[in-house]
């Protein structure tokens, strides 16, 4: 029995690669066997290696690749490089001013120390249904760019996930950037989550991003985390809100119907029954806060 079957401070050995550009990285990935892992921040990968959950033979560090980090606004879109640290997104003034929901979500990821290491690309590729950043980015209608050996593709972020820890990424592909349209005037967003302490992974989370015209909801995206194998769009609830004013009656109706839209399991963090109830509270909180914000700015 290996001594690495429990959390240990000695990592099993692996081959280490630190490519300098994306082409080199894709080439290395395409030539290596399946048991290879990309290292970005490492805040998910390293603990999993210590606990023996993952035993990669090869580690490909993508941090030395130039041009994979940074936040810019271009053609009415915000573009975030996959290697951008969570803390840099949290502190970024463009994000604070124009994509408040992402600012709120990044503040809720782990601790300062984690956010100083962890990257947004890692938050996405780790494919946890609880990922705070992911729920907010789907609510912002984000797309992601993926580069492989010969081709580049762009897909909707919500189509990226196949299950817990599973994505559509092929072994030679790398997520390079995240892009979303700057929310239009009259847009409001709110992200909330429940956990035992604030550092925890979300037991249940909810992201709501909407645009109001003449007090009525013109478009809306609602995403819930930790209630299904992947982050979940709640289309039926979105449709319920379209063209309506946010009133206490609508909030009550949303809270009443939202539980029917989720498919939670019972796990170490909470029972499914708890999650069915808790999501109602999060829905009330999110919609009430958005209503308050919209009144404050009128």
């Amino acid at each position: 029995m290996s001594i690495n079957n429990h959390n240990t401070h000695i990592l099993p050995k692996f081959e280490y690669y630190s490519p300098k550009n994306i082409e080199e990285a894709c080439k290395i990935l395409s030539e290596l066997p399946e048991d290879s892992k990309i290292l970005a921040g490492g805040t998910d990968l390293i603990p999993k290696m210590k606990e023996g959950v993952l035993k990669p033979k090869n580690i490909i560090n993508i941090k030395q690749i130039q041009g994979l980090s940074g936040i810019q606004e271009k053609d009415n879109c915000i573009i975030i490089g996959a290697n951008t640290k969570i803390r840099d997104i949290e502190k970024n003034l463009i994000i604070q001013k124009k994509a408040d929901i992402l600012h709120q979500a990044t503040k809720k990821i782990g601790s300062v120390q984690i956010r100083n290491i962890a990257t947004i690309g890692g938050n996405i590729c780790n494919a946890s249904p609880a990922a705070d950043g992911v729920a907010a980015l789907i609510a912002l209608n984000a797309e992601i760019s993926i580069i492989g050996v010969k081709k580049k593709k762009t897909i909707k972020l919500e189509a990226f996930f196949k299950g817990p820890g599973k994505t559509i990424l092929n072994k030679e592909e790398i997520l390079t950037e995240i892009k979303f349209p700057v929310p239009e005037p009259g847009s409001y967003g709110y992200y909330c989550k429940l956990g035992r302490v604030s550092l925890d992974l979300a037991t249940v989370s909810l992201a709501v991003q909407l645009k109001m015209v003449d007090e009525k909801v013109e478009n809306i995206i609602i995403v819930s985390g930790s209630v299904a194998p992947t982050p979940l769009r709640l289309y039926n609830i979105e449709n319920l809100c379209i063209n309506k004013k946010i009133t206490n009656d609508l909030i009550d109706e949303v809270a009443e119907k939202i539980s029917r839209e989720i498919k939670p399991i019972s796990d170490t963090r909470a029972s499914a029954d708890y999650r069915y109830l808790a999501i109602k509270g999060l829905a009330k909180e999110a919609f009430s806060q958005i209503l308050e914000k919209s009144r404050g700015t009128r």
Partner: protein
């Protein structure tokens, strides 16, 4: 692999296997045992060090990955026998019981006070969420951070 680091202001060169964690390098090869191995999974903050001035967890970082960077540990804070104002503040407020979490807390405090010279209690509690004190001496730790802020602002 050849790795060059600046640890507490001193240039250090190592030949390392890639699976060596930054924390193991500091503790085992440099005898800098102030930073502690606590939970190992990023919950406790006992291994907090500064990487280019930012608080990070040394138990989750490969040493080869910080080639060319600055790492500061608790051992680098004092100037000879003269303790750093944050260390003096922790002593004065009795913000230490068993002491295991203290180096991590002090390094997080260093990062906090660099960002925010006069943090409120809420801001202190929020920033220090990544550090756990299992003796639960949080009240005195908050006082120590406020005390340290005063000392450093006087200078």
């Amino acid at each position: 692999m050849k790795v060059e680091l600046i640890i507490n202001g001193k240039k250090c060169i190592f030949d390392l296997e890639p699976n060596i964690l930054l924390l193991n390098l500091l503790r085992d090869k440099m005898d800098l045992t102030g930073s502690k191995y606590g939970c190992g999974i990023g919950e406790c903050g006992a291994c907090t060090v500064l990487l280019d001035g930012e608080a990070v967890l040394a138990c989750m970082i490969l040493a080869v990955d910080v080639d060319g960077h600055n790492v500061d540990t608790i051992e680098g804070l004092a100037e000879g026998d003269k303790l750093h104002p944050i260390q003096e503040a922790y002593l004065e407020e009795d913000a230490i019981q068993c002491g295991f979490c203290t180096p991590g807390f002090i390094m997080s405090t260093t990062a906090l006070l660099k960002e925010n010279k006069d943090p409120s209690e809420a801001e202190i509690r929020n920033y220090l969420q990544g550090n756990i004190c299992r003796c639960t001496g949080y009240v005195n730790i908050i006082k120590a951070v406020q005390n340290a802020a005063k000392r450093m602002n006087k200078k």
